[in-house]
Structures are given as structure tokens and as C-alpha cells.
């Protein structure tokens, strides 16, 4: 029985990112952080104080951020280019495509305050397109960690990866580890954070937490046992795990803090359909409309990326 209460709002993934980078930088002078006046919003103040020679400020110039980081990476540096995801993956998209991915310069692109983390600041500050645009670019791994554990591991493993990586996370406090048992994380391998055979949530980033809450409630209240996969790596997708999961022919719900177009849901649907699976299937994401205004939590609730909304969606697929 899933009775353990999920502890929330401890530490933002962003803070874990900063702490992990400090841990790495202490032993590796090639770790360089490049910021676009985003030191504060990236929680990198302490990093800058401790490692002043390992942080490079480029000013509010995201194209330059990525180009300079590519030049650093091509000289053997482990360059982490840190900027709000909304700017990083739109304004500097050509630099990501040409100078990082195409040129195979192994920059680590860190999209902070991603999705709708900026809430009521509005669409200029939202990144609901980043999975879609980066999925269409060859030679880049896309990661959205769900909890503090995944964040730290993603950063550690990305630092040792000799190819381009994009990692995005939000500002909100997140649980230390959404799984009660699993402490393994590998880029490209989804983590099953809840087991269950009646329905599967395939979610990514901060959208995993509401799935876990919904799964716990579905089990307690409706005796519906849900599997929850944290598909932290959106590209390359863990196709083996999806194949195994879909084999029971039960409903699958994908959940993401992204546009319904071009994100995790479409990636999963494309794979499953082409493999011949015909499970009941629903993509929960932000619809193709001007996003409602509000906080991240309010926006999540508005579009059903919430415990309540996901329980309803799950029940609609199980009891049609």
C-alpha cells in the first residue's frame, strides 16, 4: 500500500544544481559556469564566491552565452551555460543547433526556471517549446529531472558526458527522492518511482510529483494501482521501458510541463503507435492556446497537471 506521504517543498532542484556544481568544481578546474546575468536566478552566487575563476559572465546576451560556451568546450572545458530556459532555447537556438549540437561541442545547457516556473510573469518567460525544438535537433540529450536526487545525478553525469546535454528545471521546492527504493539514475533510462499494473503515468520534470500524488490517491481511494515513470531523459527516450510497460495493454497517460505539441507525449505516442501498441492513451500538457495567467501551481491545476486533475483523467480512461 502506498501510504507514505510525499514530503514536498524542501529544496529547489535549482539549488541542488548549484550545490552539485560546487562539489564538482572543487575537484575539477575545467568545470566552468557561463551565465547571462543569471548568477542570482541560477542560485550561483555562492559558486561565484568560492570559484571566481570558474564563472564567466557574458551579460544579457544569450546567443553569446552559447557561442562562448561552445568555444570553451572545444578547448576541453566542461562548460555549463546557465540561463532561463525560455531565452536559452529560443533566442540562442541557432547557436545550440550549429555551435553546440552540429559542431559537437559538448556544452551543458542549463535551462533554469523552466516551463511555467515564472508563473504570472507570463509567456515571454515560459518555456513550453524547449523539448519540441531540441528534439528536432540532432546530437543533443534532453533531461528534465523530477527531484533533487535526479538533479544532482543528471549534473554529475552530464559533466562526464562528451556530447551536448540540455537540462531544465524549475524554481519550486521538490522532494529529495520520489522513489522509496530506487537510488539509481542513468541518463537515457527512465526511473519507475511507483509500481502498479492498472495504469501508467509517464511524466517528466516537475510534472512527475503530481503523478505520484495522484497514483497514491488512486490506490488508497479507488484501489487502482498505477505505475509512475519519471522519464527524466526525453531524448534519447527509454524505448525498452516503454515497450515493457505498454505490454500489459493498460492505459498510459503522459504528463509534462510543456506544450502538447512536440514534447514527451508525442514522443511516447510516436514510439508506441509505430510498435503496434493500441493502449488507451492521453497526453496531459499545456494546450495550444495563450497560457492562462497565474502561478505555476495555478497553471498546473488549470490544465489538469495536478493530483485532482490526473486522478480524473486516470479514472476516465479506466472507467470509460
Amino acid at each position: 500500500m502506498a501510504t507514505e506521504v510525499i514530503k514536498t517543498a524542501e529544496t529547489a532542484n535549482l539549488e541542488v544544481f548549484s550545490a552539485t556544481l560546487q562539489e564538482l568544481a572543487a575537484h575539477d578546474r575545467d568545470i566552468l559556469v557561463v551565465t547571462s546575468d543569471s548568477r542570482g536566478s541560477g542560485k550561483l552566487g555562492p559558486f561565484g564566491v568560492k570559484f571566481p575563476d570558474q564563472i564567466i559572465e557574458v551579460g544579457i546576451a544569450e546567443q553569446n552565452l552559447v557561442g562562448v560556451a561552445a568555444g570553451l568546450a572545444s578547448m576541453g572545458k566542461k562548460a555549463f551555460a546557465v540561463s532561463p530556459a525560455c531565452f536559452l532555447t529560443a533566442r540562442s537556438l541557432e547557436q545550440i543547433k550549429n555551435d553546440v549540437a552540429y559542431s559537437d561541442n559538448p556544452v551543458k545547457l542549463i535551462g533554469i526556471s523552466a516551463g511555467v516556473s515564472y508563473g504570472a510573469l507570463g509567456t515571454t518567460h515560459h518555456s513550453l517549446h524547449d523539448y519540441a525544438v531540441l528534439r528536432a535537433i540532432n546530437n543533443i540529450t534532453i533531461i528534465a529531472p523530477a527531484d533533487n536526487f535526479e538533479t544532482a545525478e543528471a549534473i554529475r553525469q552530464a559533466a562526464e558526458t562528451e556530447s551536448p546535454v540540455y537540462i531544465r528545471f524549475g524554481k519550486k521546492g521538490m522532494p529529495d527522492n520520489l522513489s522509496r527504493q530506487i537510488s539509481e539514475f542513468r541518463i537515457g533510462k527512465g526511473r519507475v518511482v511507483r509500481e502498479g499494473g492498472d495504469l501508467t503515468f509517464v511524466a517528466t520534470g516537475e510534472a512527475v510529483l503530481p503523478c505520484v500524488k495522484a497514483a497514491d490517491l488512486l490506490e488508497q481511494t479507488y484501489n487502482v494501482r498505477c505505475k509512475v515513470i519519471s522519464m527524466h531523459t526525453i531524448k534519447p527516450l527509454d524505448e525498452a521501458l516503454l515497450f515493457e510497460t505498454a505490454g500489459n495493454n493498460q492505459p498510459i497517460i503522459t504528463v509534462e510541463e510543456h506544450s502538447v505539441n512536440g514534447g514527451l507525449g508525442e514522443a511516447v505516442a510516436s514510439f508506441l503507435f509505430q510498435k503496434g501498441f493500441r493502449n488507451s492513451f492521453k497526453i496531459v500538457a499545456l494546450p495550444d492556446e495563450h497560457t492562462v495567467s497565474g502561478s505555476q501551481t495555478e497553471i498546473f491545476e488549470h490544465y489538469g497537471i495536478s493530483e485532482k486533475g490526473l486522478v480524473q483523467t486516470a479514472l476516465s480512461l479506466i472507467q470509460p
Binding site: 551579460g59 553569446n64 552559447v66 562562448v68 561552445a70 572545444s74 578547448m75 572545458k77 550549429n98 559542431s103
Partner: protein
Amino acid sequence: MTIQELELKSVEYREKILRYIYNAKAGHTGGSLSVVDILNVLYNRIMNVSPENFHLNERDRYVQSKGHCVEALYVVLADQGFFPEEDLLTLCRYQSPYIGHPTKKIKGVEQNTGGLGHGLAICAGNAIAAKKDGLPLKVFTIMGDGELAEGSNWEAFMLASHYKLDNLCAILDYNKLQISGTNTEVMGLEPIDKKLEAFGWAVRHVDGHNFEELTSTLESLPFETGKPSFIIAHTTKGKGVSYMENTLKWHHGVPDKEQYAAAMEELEGIRTKILE
């Protein structure tokens, strides 16, 4: 290499540029002919880069920001021994690695370029890394004049002076023509020297076809300690082939059989004159 040897080398490079563009029926002819003397001096007199040291982090770096003039770069790299020249017979052919913009698949090419306004920021990253590692290498890029309308360059210009990157040198291949017309008609650049000075760069003008000027200028880098160097190389688009010079249609025009023969004859005449 003596000045006369450099002059003869450029005649040879121009012949080869035209040969491979003629063979491929594609290429950026005018710009390759305007930039090639600068590349000649960089690779034969200035830069510490060769097939033998290309794997060493200590080598100088060259990133061709105006990537479309790749034919000039390929010809020079082949001459340096990075790859067999006959590979260029596959230029722009199906499955050939020798595509119409620089690619790292070709030994000697540092970065994949082609989109304009990308080279300088990458070079700035190279220059910062070199300083951090205490490497005495120099980083070079050649930019096009039309390219300077890309805003990303100005982000990188700001950064390079902010970080006092005196190991960085940007060279403007200033032939004053771009695909739709003159720079003045399309997007005025002037006063380009004052703009760069205001951005904190040390600036010099040179005749981009004068080997002595190019050499002495490039040998005096950095122009000022603590400042990145900007060379405004005044060039002629289509240089060396009179009917191509300063003529817009040769931006990416490909000569037909008669035009090709006439161009080769003219270059042979230049060679004869140099040897007189």
C-alpha cells in the same frame, strides 16, 4: 615564404578555387577570391597550425566566420597537407564531406560554420580558455562585411574587450559587396573603425591583397596589450579575375567553360608578371 612566393601561392590558390568551383558547379566565388590572400598569409606566415600539431591544444585557432567562402579555406588547407587536394573534386557532391560550408569532418577545420555571426563568440570562448590555461596561442577569425549586421557579433565584440582578449584577432574581409548590393545600400557599416574602437578594440586598416602589409600587421599582434585586435582588410570581391572584380553576380556565380578559360588565362598572366 618570401613575398614573391606568397604572391605566386595566391595565384595558385585562385586557380584551384576556380577549378573546384567550376567542377562542382557551385561555390562562393567572389568572396573566396577576396579572402584568399589573408588566408595565405595566416597559414603560410603567421599561425602555428599544421597537420602535425592539429591534435595539440597549443595550436593557434582559426574559425572562418564567413563560412560560405569555404572554397578558399579548403584549397589552403589542402596545400598545408591536411588532406589530398584531389578530394576537392567531390566538392558539394552526394555523400562528400566537402560541403559548401566548413565542417569539422575535414581535418584542419576547427568549427562548423555557415550561419553568419557565429565565429567570433566561439573564438572568444577559445581565447578565454587559452588564457585560463596559460596557453600562449592566438585565435583568429575572418568575418564578412555583410555579416556584421548580425547582432550576435556585437555581443561578442563587447565581451572580447570586457575580458581583455588580446589573444584574439578578428579580420574583416571588407570587399564592400554582399548578396543584394553594396554594404552601403543594404546596411551601412561605416564608420566601422570608430565603432570597433568604441567597443574597446584596437583597430588597423590594411590592404587585404598586400602581403607585406598583411604580414607586418599580423606580426604585430596584439596591437595593444589588453585589447582584442580588429583588422579591416580592404579587399576586392572577385580579386584576380577582372570580369569578376566588384561585380555582384559573382557572389556565388559559377563560370561557364569560356569564362573559366579566360579566368585561368588571366591568372597565368599574373603569374608571368610576378616572375618577370
